[in-house]
């Protein structure tokens, strides 16, 4: 009986990829240009922000927590970057990232020390950050003219490979390494699986939680600054769409909100799927209504394909 189970799980492994292939083939056949290098780059570029944020989100969800402040945080950091760009140029980005880390730390500390469920803390903080961002930008876009800051997205460190396309890939590699290869990553899974047991095993659960939230914060900050530098301005609410999309991406990938199950590559899958569908539907020029319905349907399909029920007590 073990055999059959193994077969099943093996199959389960490839179903998501199959889904991805089917979807992209579908668009590819409809529009040959869909597979052009140009479009692949365009795709990567379009998914870059979401990819970065979702990578951060993966850390949090693996722990069984959730970070609802990613979007607002991205906006906030973007604004800070944009405001400082004239004075610090590229350095503004560093500050932006630090700001993100700071916000993450606040999240983490409230969650672990004050002990309020992360969902609420981050949700409340989301509001606060939106407010702060609006105050900072006086409610209207902050244009950026500083070249070094703009090069952060449009320049290219590697050959003629634009940074916007490069950075998310680098981030994926780093996150993959941290989550799957390091002790830190391992303890994330442990916390997600059974916080108490992990705590009793002498792992510094609180530290790890705070650090994870900080990582997620930095990722949001990075996405924010990148977006700002790409659009040459930090706009109000520019990060709004990240929240739901990043959670969706992570969960579509098969990482469970209860924590302990999943991983970075699954998230990559989720983001790629979302991006391909989005862009594909732009190609088809679908009505927004149809888009929403398709998106919803595919989300359900993807989850039902990806979810590994053998690893959950029961589905809530």
């Amino acid at each position: 009986m073990k055999e059959s189970v193994n077969k099943m799980t093996a199959l389960m492994k490839y179903l998501p990829l199959l889904l991805l292939v089917v979807v992209s083939l579908f668009f590819g056949i409809l529009y040959p240009r869909f597979f052009s290098i140009q479009n692949v780059l365009n795709l990567i570029r379009q998914m870059s922000f979401l990819m970065i944020v979702s990578m951060g989100m993966t850390f949090i969800i693996l722990m069984g927590s959730i970070d609802a402040s990613v979007g607002a945080n991205a906006t906030f950091c973007g604004v800070i970057g944009a405001l400082l760009a004239p004075y610090l140029g590229g350095g503004a980005i560093i500050i932006g990232l630090l700001a993100g880390a700071g916000v993450g730390a606040v999240n983490g500390i409230i969650v672990t020390k004050v002990k309020v469920p992360s969902f609420l803390v981050t949700l409340a903080l989301m509001g606060a950050l939106d407010g702060a961002a609006l105050l900072l930008m006086h409610s209207s876009p902050v244009n950026i003219s500083n070249q070094t800051f703009l090069d952060f997205s449009n320049g290219s460190l590697l050959f003629s490979f634009p940074n916007v396309d490069l950075i998310p890939i680098v981030i994926i590699v780093i996150c993959y390494y941290i989550i799957t290869k390091t002790a830190f990553g391992r303890s994330l899974y442990a916390i997600g699986g059974n916080e108490q047991a992990t705590f009793y095993s002498g792992i510094k659960v609180r530290h790890i939680q705070v650090i994870a939230f900080m990582i997620s914060g930095v990722m949001s900050g990075l996405a924010g600054c990148l977006q700002a530098s790409m659009f040459e301005a930090a706009c109000p609410y520019m990060g709004n769409s990240f929240l739901m999309n990043s959670i969706a991406a992570v969960v579509i990938g098969g990482t469970q909100l209860s924590g302990g199950v999943g991983g970075p590559l699954r998230t990559v899958f989720g983001v790629v799927l979302i991006a391909i569908i989005g862009s594909g539907m732009n190609f088809m020029g679908l009505e927004p209504a149809t888009r929403q319905i398709v998106t919803g349907a595919i989300m359900i399909l993807a989850v039902s394909v990806n979810i590994d029920r053998s690893k959950m007590a029961y589905v809530k």
Partner: protein, 323 residues
């Protein structure tokens, strides 16, 4: 003997903690009454209640899945869906429209429940997805415009005043709410939902048809959101694909501030009203007080975290870690 001591102490804490929301509410009212004299005007308080009545029904609705340990994020979708579909079928705004709104709300909820209980998918993502779908349908039907329902009967459901000075929506919503509080506490359904929230496997073994009651919980959520939609559309005299945006977070927060844990099994519909009042009073008071919207966001954050913190004291004494 030591246990007893602890027990006593705990009870005392609980007593206080259960009063926290009320204390917060009263504190807010006093503060705002100084911030703007108009706040405590009878008409304004009525306004607060009328706004709350819609929130209340929706929040009460989503409390059921949450009690079960699931979650319903398709609030906006159901509001938009039920309103628009009903209005396209029966724009006249008669009894039929009313019935349709509720019925469609129920059906959309049922669909959520079916996906969660039968296909066994996590409610979070399911409802997130169905939210897209329902909104999509609504937009498709209206091309995004809104359908005005110009019938006095319809608008009287919300704006009429059987009792002079008090809009019907307050009274009706109150009655409906009480009925559902009763249902959640005094009937099999409510009890089973609590049981599923507490220990699903035990509930199943004791012979409770878990799937069935999961579906029921989501259906109830749908129905109550339908009621909310009814009063909302009645008040604005229209159904639209733009309605109900931003209800998700405020209602979820209201539920939790009311003392229902997202982990399920703890709390109840009864207390959701407090959370709702806190939120509506906050919004109304700060607007009247002429506070900058951006500041409002921050104040909200602080007060909400604060009250949740106070409410969750007894739980924390049990669990020393938080997710």
């Amino acid at each position: 003997m030591t246990a007893d001591v602890k027990e006593k102490a705990k009870i005392d804490i609980n007593k206080i903690v259960n009063l926290v929301p009320i204390i917060v509410i009263i504190a807010l009212m006093i503060i705002f009454s100084f911030l703007s004299p108009a706040f405590l005007r009878f008409r304004n308080l009525v306004e607060i209640l009328q706004l709350s009545s819609i929130y209340l029904l929706i929040a009460a609705g989503v409390t059921f899945p949450i009690l079960m340990g699931s979650i319903d994020l398709s609030i906006t979708g159901i509001i938009v869906g039920s309103g628009v579909i009903a209005a396209t079928i029966a724009p006249a705004g008669g009894l039929f429209t009313v019935f349709l709104i509720l019925f469609i709300g129920l059906c959309l909820g049922l669909f959520n429940g079916f996906l969660v209980a039968k296909i066994k998918l996590p409610s979070f993502i399911v409802t997130l997805a169905t939210n897209f779908i329902y909104c999509g349908i609504a937009v498709a039907l209206t091309e995004g415009y809104n359908i005005n329902i110009r019938s006095n009967f319809f608008s009287n459901i919300s704006n009429g005043r059987m009792i002079p000075g008090i809009p019907n929506s307050i009274i009706l919503a109150g009655i409906i709410y009480i009925i559902f509080v009763y249902l959640s506490e005094k009937t099999k359904t409510g009890r089973y939902i609590m049981a599923i929230g507490g220990k699903e496997d035990v509930a199943a073994r004791m012979g409770i048809n878990v799937a069935k009651y999961k579906i029921i919980a989501f259906a109830l959520s749908g129905l109550l959101i339908g009621f909310g939609t009814l009063f909302l559309s009645a008040r604005l005299g229209m159904a639209s694909a733009q309605l109900g945006s931003g209800y998700i977070f405020s209602t979820l927060i209201a539920v939790v501030v009311g003392g229902t844990a997202l982990s399920g099994g703890v709390g109840g519909v009864r207390r959701t009203i407090l959370g709702v009042l806190i939120i509506t009073i906050l919004e109304n008071g700060m607007t009247l007080g002429g506070l900058d919207v951006r500041i409002q966001y921050m104040v909200k954050a602080v007060i909400l975290i604060g009250s949740v913190y106070l409410i969750s004291i007894p739980d924390r004494s049990r669990q020393d870690l938080m997710k």
